[in-house]
Structures are given as structure tokens and as C-alpha cells.
Symmetry: C2
Subunit: 415 residues, 2 copies
């Protein structure tokens, strides 16, 4: 383990796979009130203790009937039914229907026993207080939501690993489930190193710059649904650096080390990771982002992951999204294809075969077409990211993409 | 104004436009710490008070030079420069470079005056403590990030109406801006009506059902970046209903009234909206969701919007997403094309011309293809939404979509 890994550059897919296989953070389960569950991930299968609806309900305003009593009814030869009452919303029908009997119902009313369908108001005439003429036959089940038709008692309504969206909240409410067991969000510590860095609130002395990576990473971690925490800036000194990372490891599931891009700082990061844990890889075939490295640290029953991100902000951004973000969503079971915007590339994008290249782009709508403009610029320039809407990926083996090609754009974030 | 509007069904686009023109909620601006700004919308143009970087920096490890001093250098005829020091990270160079002088720099180091480029370490040999051989010429600006190259002093770095994403947080940090003026999220009151409804925590008596719409809408409002609040359930009684909506109007920018689907409840909702404000429309050419209505209420200097959503959960869900959600994002200036997943429809989707139809679908990946399966089912069934991944829209004038057609799927929510 160690130095000899330095030159084995692996692909992004391999990096993800190696981490997934090597890193086993414990799962912390928390019980949250239903209203706070939005966006969390269910930590258990949730079963229905009852039927929804709990009784057959009308889905139209009209008359509850036994469908058989309407068979053969027509404009010329209506079925005449005896009106024996009504079922106000929220009440239980007073009695069952006998043969050729009916009760008035509103949308949502319970059906009386003996009824299995509802005739729409528009297809009837109320002749008098006791008589309703029905002009069309209805089939059994017509205009009715059957007992348990939405949810059957005993059915698993939400599987472990499901993201609780608005509709899941609705189903849980309909079942009377007001707290949910969900996975606690993964905790992500952010450690930035560099003798030149000062916190944003501080005025940099000549030669110093403000730490922006920690704040960008904080936002990216939030975006990925995890819980970020920024640690104090550390200088390029092994002892302080190691101690801070060690503390962050103890307090988090993932530690992001965002170091400088100088050889000295990179060597220091490598040393700290090797000393604290087991190095997984060093170097990924991604541009920008090549000097990314990762290690796993065992502590007690838990394992924490340390990812060393490149110092240039654009490199750290791309690497986070490609390698770290998917790991932070590891509890989500169902992986959907990525939603993208297709558009026409307006400039050639050169790339070198053998590495996956991520190009920042802007979208411009023109004459009903979506144009995709590459945003070129040094990977140290944050404004190339603020000026971009998303990323176009040039695959590992491609040598660039020609202008005029239709390409899929992965948007950064949709509000 | 009033009843005569009942039958004028308008399109979804018209509904959005009418509301946007008629409803002018005041803008509440709040100052938030940078770390809490993620996902908010900037309420002012933000200008850079300084340059980023504040000084020219090396983007490679190597030697700071005046490019001219390297012109003509080659393997055979290196340029010999006098090494007059180094620039440790975070410090200011001790002096300027004279002719044919150089200083050692690391990635991120400040360049001394007189230097305008950096020669990469790999293209040099350190002959002795005072002499460096340079084997390749560099151009002015090479391997350097110029002063103000990322952000120029005085430049607007973030425009009003911009969503603060991770990269905007990074830029703000780099400028020392640690608080941001953002729009307070719109407040959305949720009022559900129906004699049959009980809160989720309560066991329904026969004929009663639990209120699920309020909870689903709570999730949808969260998803749209606004601030939801659920009001107490109201019975189908005009006085209580009106008083609750009036209170919700006073306390919110938007009030969602989710009523039953019976004619009685719908008439009651219409009456309440007409009494409290100015009715904007009643009836939208959308399926599901036709009986949607909206009104605007003026109170003091503010205007609140009331939207009456259909009672069936699927109808309320679709209408919210199509009509209400875009309104809640009104402060966001830049509207990007929607990201979608394209796939092949596996079943015919029938639809009636003259209304926009929203079909719930599941995505299935098979042999590298994305298949799109419609989830059919009554609009009272919440599980047709939990079982779906997104929506396919059949346009207003189309009569359905044939199986085998490639269709864009708008996903419900990406984690």
C-alpha cells in the first residue's frame, strides 16, 4: 500500500466502485415527524395497518345503487328506484339498500351496504321525494373507489431506501403514520489546508487569499442531502493537519480534505491519508480533478472515508459531483436515469482520450433551439462555474466533441 | 365578475399568465449568513469590492520569470537565470525580479514584481543554489492567474434573482462577503376542507377519512422552495371556512384551499373566494385538475393569492406542479429549459384534444433503453403517485400519444 499507487490512475467508475466496496459507514436511524420527513430516505419498509379508503366511497355526486337494478335502463325506459335517504359526507350510511332502493351521495360519501356503484346526478331525475329515475345502466364498481383500492391492509407502501417525496407524505398521512424512521444524513467534515488561506471574514495580507473551497463544498454537501461541517483552516504542517483530520474523522462519516495544488501540499495530504488510514487510490482519469485521492479509516465499529480533493475550485467541484455526491446518496435504492437538457454544442470541445472530461456550459435558447456554449477558463476560476448552467461530459475514450453535435447537459441544480 | 366565469375554462398557460399579472405579493428581503444562503435567491446585485485573486499567482510549481528572459530557450541552449529566492505560499515576495532573475514558486504563490509567467519545474534544472536552467520559453501570462482574472473589482458577481448555489457561495467567500440579502421564501398557507376529514393522528370514525392532501401539499411547497403552514381542518360551513381562509390570507402570500370534489363543496369554495377577493378564473383545461380556481385578495399594501385546488389528491398534485410551483419561483430570473429523461412509451396514452393531460409514469431501464410505463388509476389514488417517477404531458391539442413514441419525462424530484 502506498507510494506505488501514485501513478496508477483509475477511471471515475473504478473510483466510485472501490470506495463503495471499501467504505462501510454505520447506518444511523432517526425517527422524524412526518412534516420533517420530506427529502429523507426511509430506513425501513412501511406497512399499511389498514385499508385506504377504509370503506367504499363515491367518486361522483349522484345516487348509490346496486348496479343490477339499473341494467337495461335508458332514456325511454328509465329504472325507477326508491330514494330511502342520503349519506352526508363524513357519516356512516344509516342502513343498507334493499332491492330497487337508492340513496343520494356526494363525491367522497360512504356507500351503503347493498350498493356497488354510483349513478351520476346528470343521468338521473328526481321525480319526487321518494323516487329517482335512472336513464343509464352502471357497471358494478362504476364511480366508486372500493375499500382498500388505494392501499390494501398489510401492503408495503414505502420500501426501505425510498426518498420521502410529497406523495409519500400524503400516503403516510392517509394511513395515520405521523412519524417515520429515516436514515440520519451522512455527516461530512470539510478541512481546508494551505498556509495562504484565511477565513472569508478576514482581510488577506499580501500573498494570502480567502478560503472559498470550504464554502463551495458546504453548498455541494447540502445539495447532496448530507450534513456539512467546516473545520478550522489548517496550515501545511503535518502535525496540525493530521490532528484536525483525525478529529474530523472521529466526528463524521466522510471527511473532505481540500488541499492546495502544489506538489508539497499534495505530498503532505498523501502522507496524512496514508498515516491515518488505508489509501484506496491516488489519481483519477478525470479532467479537471486528476490528483484526487481517497482513504478509509476504521475507528471502533465505524468506517470513515477521507477524500482528498484537488485545490483548484473547479477541479474540486467536478470531482465532488462525480465521485463524492453519488456516495452520499448511497441509501437511496432506486437509481433513476439522469434528467438532462439536450442542446446543440456551438463550439468544438477538445479532449484527450483516456480521461473523462467535464466541460462547464451555458444554455442559450434561440429560435426555439437550445444552444450549448462551453465556458472555457482556468480551473482556478470560480466565476466559470457561476457563469455556467451545467456540465457536458466527454467520455473517457472520446477525443472531444465537434460543434453542431447534440449533447446532453446535466444541470447543476434546479430550483 | 362571478358566476359567469364558471364555464370559461382557460389553458394552463393562460392561468399562469393571469395570476402573474394579477398577483403582486410584496418582496420581503432578509439578510442571511453565507452558510445559510444555499438555495435562496439573491435580492440585490452583488458587486466585488476587490479583485480575485488580489495579486498574480502561480498556477504551477516552478520558477517565476519575466517571459522575455526565456525566449529562445531550448534543450540545447537553455536560458540560465539567477535564482534570487523563493516565494513561500501565503507570503509576499521579498523583492522584485531584475533582468535574468527568477524566484522559486509553488502553485498559489504570489508572483514577484517583474515576473509575468511561470516556468514549470519539469522544464528546468537547478544547476546550483544560484542558477536555474530553463529549457523552454514561456509566453507572458503562462501558468499564471492574473490579478483580478477571476473577479474584477467593481464587477457584479451575482445578479438579483440568482439562485445561490454552491459555486455562488464560493465566489462570495472569496470576496469576503459573509452575509447575503435574499428574498424571504414565500409563505404558503394550506387549508383543507371537508366534513369527512380528520387529522392523520386521529382514528377516523365510519364514513371519515384522514386528511392526506395537506401533508402532500406541505411536501410540494417545500419542494418548490417556499414555506408551508398547515391550518386546522375546516368543515363545509361557510362561516368557519371563510374565517380560516381570511386568517390564512393575512398570514401568507399564497393560500392553497384543498376542498372536496363534490358540487356542494366546490360551490362553497367558489363563494368563499368570491366573497374574500377578486376571482381570476374558474376551470382550467388540464386533466386531472379541471375545477381549479384562483382569486387575489388585497390587504393593506399586500396581495395574497388563493388557489382552490381539486380535492382528488392526484388532481391537486398535478395542478400544484403545473400552476402553483412556477409562481413560487417567481423571483428566480433565469428560467432554464426543463431537464427530462427521454424514453419509449410502452402503452398508448389516450387523451382528449382541448385539454393538457398529465400522465403519471414509471421508468424502467431494459437492455440499455429507457421504457416509459404509464401508471393508470383513479385520481383519488395516492399510490399511483408514489408508484410513479414522473409525468408525461400530452399537449393541449393532441389526441393521445401512441405506444413506441419517444417522450420526455419530467421527473418528480431528484435527490
Amino acid at each position: 500500500m502506498g507510494r506505488e499507487l501514485m501513478f496508477e490512475v483509475i477511471t471515475v467508475d473504478e473510483a466510485r466502485k472501490i470506495i463503495a466496496e471499501s467504505w462501510h459507514p454505520g447506518d444511523t436511524v432517526q425517527t422524524v415527524p412526518l412534516l420533517d420527513a420530506w427529502g429523507t430516505v426511509a430506513a425501513e419498509d412501511i406497512k399499511a395497518a389498514e385499508n385506504v379508503p377504509g370503506f367504499a366511497r363515491a367518486t361522483m355526486d349522484g345516487y348509490a345503487v346496486n348496479a343490477e337494478d339499473t341494467f337495461g335502463a335508458s332514456e325511454a325506459m328509465p329504472a325507477y328506484l326508491t330514494l330511502v335517504g342520503e349519506v352526508p359526507m363524513g357519516t356512516s350510511p344509516e342502513r343498507a339498500l334493499g332491492i330497487d332502493e337508492t340513496m343520494a351521495v356526494a363525491t367522497g360519501s360512504a356507500l351503503p351496504e347493498g350498493a356497488n356503484a354510483v349513478v351520476m346526478l346528470e343521468q338521473t331525475t328526481k321525480i319526487d321525494d321518494r323516487t329517482v329515475a335512472v336513464y343509464r345502466p352502471v357497471a358494478p364498481g362504476e364511480n366508486v373507489m372500493g375499500k382498500g383500492e388505494d392501499v390494501r391492509q398489510g401492503q408495503v407502501v414505502i420500501r426501505r431506501g425510498t426518498v420521502i417525496r410529497a406523495q409519500e407524505m400524503g400516503v403516510l398521512a392517509s394511513l395515520g403514520i405521523t412519524t417515520v424512521k429515516t436514515y440520519a444524513p451522512l455527516r461530512v467534515g470539510i478541512v481546508s489546508t494551505g498556509n495562504e488561506l484565511v477565513p472569508p471574514a478576514q482581510k488577506p495580507a499580501p500573498g494570502q487569499v480567502r478560503d472559498s473551497n470550504s464554502y463551495m463544498l458546504y453548498g455541494l454537501v447540502r445539495e447532496a442531502g448530507a450534513q456539512p461541517r467546516i473545520y478550522q483552516l489548517v496550515p501545511d504542517e503535518e502535525a496540525v493537519y493530521k490532528e484536525t483530520v483525525r478529529q474530523a474523522v472521529a466526528e463524521n462519516d466522510v471527511v473532505l480534505v481540500s488541499g492546495g495544488s502544489s506538489v508539497g501540499t499534495r505530498d503532505l495530504t498523501l502522507k496524512v491519508l496514508q498515516d491515518l488510514g488505508k489509501l484506496l487510490f491516488h489519481g483519477v482519469a478525470i479532467k479537471p480533478g486528476k490528483p484526487t485521492l481517497a482513504a478509509v479509516v476504521q475507528h471502533g465499529q465505524k468506517e470513515s472515508l477521507i477524500v482528498g480533493l484537488p485545490g483548484h475550485p473547479v477541479s474540486a467541484f467536478v470531482t465532488f459531483r462525480q465521485i463524492v455526491a453519488p456516495l452520499l446518496k448511497r441509501r437511496v435504492k432506486e437509481k433513476l436515469p439522469e434528467a438532462v437538457v439536450w442542446g446543440e454544442l456551438v463550439k468544438n470541445v477538445p479532449s484527450q482520450a483516456g480521461r473523462e472530461e467535464h466541460v462547464r456550459v451555458r444554455l442559450v435558447e434561440q429560435d426555439g433551439k437550445v444552444l450549448v456554449e462551453p465556458v472555457f477558463g482556468k480551473s482556478g476560476m470560480l466565476t466559470t462555474l457561476t457563469g455556467a448552467h451545467g456540465i457536458v461530459t466527454v467520455p473517457l475514450e472520446a477525443q472531444g466533441i465537434a460543434a453542431g453535435t447534440r449533447v446532453p447537459v446535466k444541470l447543476f441544480k434546479e430550483m
